[in-house]
């Protein structure tokens, strides 16, 4: 990293993003209230069905995060722009958060529904594996200090992790079918689709806000790193 290259990174401007943050939080609250208001208790599940309004949107958006990780990791390998690496890392962190939340909510739903806290079905198990994969990704970033190496290795690990997801899902599903275990039924009634989609969009806004702010922090820190590196090498700065 030459001194000249050090100044291609600019400190991000928060701009109007904090306002968007407020909007996202309020929109989510509104979406949840709307879902409560317009959908009656399910015949079979009663009130429990309301848990799905948090669980399912979280799961969908977790997938979006990991897709972003894959996309920006590819971009980084292609263009070697540090910003792509930082976006991928931010998406990975937010994705891991949503992933953990999906698992906990899944367990909260499983317990009253089936009487157990956990089932080894394809969806829940794959979600757990993905959590471990991206926990590993975050650990890799934490344990590699040199920025260029960290970015390169994270990109590779992120892409490998992402392509593993369909493979894991398929394996676990095959494992379950062979042992003739009842697969967990899909329990979504079309009546509730609007509320689900509304909440999914709301969580998407939260996701966007989270990734953006995480990226701002990461980029600012990266610029600070380069500024002090350049200072260590000697000479005046024009940051």
């Amino acid at each position: 990293m030459t001194a000249a290259a050090a100044f291609t990174l600019e400190v991000p401007n928060p701009g109007r993003w904090p306002i968007f943050g407020w909007f996202a939080v309020l929109f989510l609250a509104g979406a949840q209230i709307t879902a409560f208001a317009i959908s009656p208790p399910d015949r079979d599940m009663g009130d429990l069905q309301k848990i799905l309004y948090v669980h399912v949107p979280t799961a969908w958006n977790m997938g979006i995060c990991y897709l972003l990780v894959a996309i920006y990791s590819f971009r980084f390998l292609w263009k070697r722009d540090d910003r792509d690496d930082l976006i991928a890392a931010s998406a990975a962190e937010v994705g891991t958060l949503l992933n953990g939340l999906t698992l906990v909510l899944g367990m909260i739903w499983a317990r009253p529904t089936w009487g157990v806290w956990w089932v080894w079905d394809a969806r829940l198990t794959s979600t757990l594996i993905m959590f471990l994969v991206f926990a590993g990704y975050l650990a890799l970033r934490a344990f590699v200090e040199e920025p260029d190496r960290r970015a390169l290795w994270s990109a590779v690990a992120g892409i490998m992790g992402a392509i593993n997801y369909p493979i894991v899902y398929m394996s676990v599903r095959w494992w379950r079918t062979i042992h003739q275990v009842q697969s967990t039924p899909s329990t979504l009634d079309p009546t509730y689709t609007f509320s689900l989609r509304l909440n999914a969009v709301a969580v998407l806004f939260i996701l966007i806000y989270f990734i953006r702010r995480r990226y701002e922090a990461a980029l600012t820190e990266r610029v600070a790193e380069q500024v002090s590196q350049a200072a260590a090498l000697g000479g005046p700065l024009n940051a």
């Binding site: 009663g46 669980h55 739903w109 009253p112 005046p236």
Partner: protein, 51 residues
């Protein structure tokens, strides 16, 4: 039947509580990360002797 619905209500409440706790918790983390990164940048600039 009422007692089943009542206990289910606990689960629903728990789900929403956990969801919001995560969101608020992460917002706090973002706040502290942003502050730390700005401090790091200010510190780096003073070392570098930038105006």
């Amino acid at each position: 039947m009422p007692e089943m619905i009542a206990s289910n209500g606990y689960y629903v409440a728990a789900a929403y509580a956990v969801g919001w706790l995560c969101i608020l918790g992460y917002l706090l983390r973002l706040h502290s990360l942003l502050r730390r990164s700005r401090e790091a940048l200010a510190h780096a600039k003073t070392i570098g002797g930038a105006p």
